[in-house]
Amino acid sequence: MEGNKIILDDKTKIIVVVIAVLIILFPVGYSVVAFAIAPSAQPFLEEADGEPCVRDLKYMRHNHWVLLKKVRDEVIHEAKQAEVKLKDCRKCHKSRERFCDKCHNAVNINFNCFDCHYYP
């Protein structure tokens, strides 16, 4: 029985423990490092030219779809005048590729506005 026992000296024990700890921590460390060195998750959007937007930049970045859906329901269901129209958007945000698609692709969101509404 005694012959089968693996006997490690202190130095080897420390090395084994260090390797084990490194393996365990690898996933966490990898994401931390990758996140730190990766380029910004936000795609670079160029400045739209034209008049100021209907809402401020921060609101539009995070909630433009809330606004569009609100206006959509108001126009169709309550017969109100449209506060903003998609065709007004394209006056400043001239290209769908450079504005809409760029972000939506980066965050992997599928949307179908342009199946019906024309946007160049």
Binding site: R72, I76, H77, A79, K87, N112, C116
Partner: protein
């Protein structure tokens, strides 16, 4: 005592069974006769003036151009908002063996009747089709339509069309794709909307505007608010004898025909 007991029991049942509740208050419920909207837009069509093919063609082409309606030659898949049909098909309960030659087998201009109690809205499973209270237009919220086509089966006037294919290639082929009006997608149902987008800007529907340009078309179509007694449509309806399509069905069509 027994009667009261029964009534209470029936009311109790009614609360748990919507169908029973609907039966108990049949007719007078939400879609009852007495209920009228504060505004109900409607149209009066002069059949005589619309016998002229140019007038009818002008309406249809103006409308279909305005709303990105593709021209599909296959009648099984065609899409139409305003079109012509035989007198006997349009008025099956009016046409008879001795119908005047003037109308017999003659085409009549037809479009969505914007019914007071639309069957299409009742059967819509997603609430995409609804009767808009502010102007009485039967609207389709294209964002909600799932293309089940129940409404097509329900509409007795055949006013609805289904997009069997993407309309854009057909429009692009003809070069009539308009950028300022949305197209539809494959699998959506569409119909006449009395040109809501034009009404919003204070303009008349495209067909009404188009007939005015055609010689002899003046007054072929009159559009206005039926609930306003001073409107042109109300005046016409008071003065002339008009008929409606399939009144007996009880959907309350809002397109009237001067015979």
């Amino acid at each position: 005592m027994k009667g009261i007991g029964f009534a209470t029991a029936a009311a109790g049942l009614g609360f748990s069974f919507p169908l029973l509740r609907a039966l108990a208050s049949s007719g007078a419920a939400s879609h009852g006769e007495g209920e009228t909207l504060s505004t109900q837009l409607g149209m009066v069509v002069d059949i005589k003036k619309c016998l002229d093919e140019n007038v009818r063609r002008a309406c249809a082409s103006a409308c279909h151009l305005e709303h990105n309606v593709p021209e599909i030659p296959d009648t099984a898949e065609e899409i139409k908002w305003i079109w012509s049909e035989d007198y006997k098909t349009v008025f099956p309960d009016q046409a008879h063996a001795r119908t005047a030659d003037m109308y017999k087998d003659k085409p009549v201009l037809v479009l969505c009747n914007q019914c007071a109690k639309p069957a299409c809205a009742k059967v819509c499973i997603t609430g995409a089709t609804f009767k808009r209270e502010s102007d009485g237009i039967v609207m389709i919220d294209m964002h909600r339509c799932v293309g089940c086509r129940f409404c097509i089966a329900a509409c007795p006037y055949g006013a609805r069309s289904f997009n069997f294919r993407d309309p854009r290639p057909a429009l692009a082929r003809k070069g009539t794709l308009r950028e300022d009006y949305p197209t539809r997608v494959k699998g959506a149902v569409e119909k006449c909307t009395f040109c809501v987008e034009r009404l919003r800007e204070g303009r008349e529907p495209a067909c009404v505007e188009a007939v005015k340009q055609v010689p002899g078309g003046e007054g072929a179509l009159t559009f206005g608010d039926l609930s306003d007694p001073d409107s042109e449509v109300s005046r016409l309806l008071r003065e002339k004898h008009t008929i409606c399509r399939r009144v007996g069905l009880g959907f309350g069509p809002n397109v009237f025909y001067i015979v």
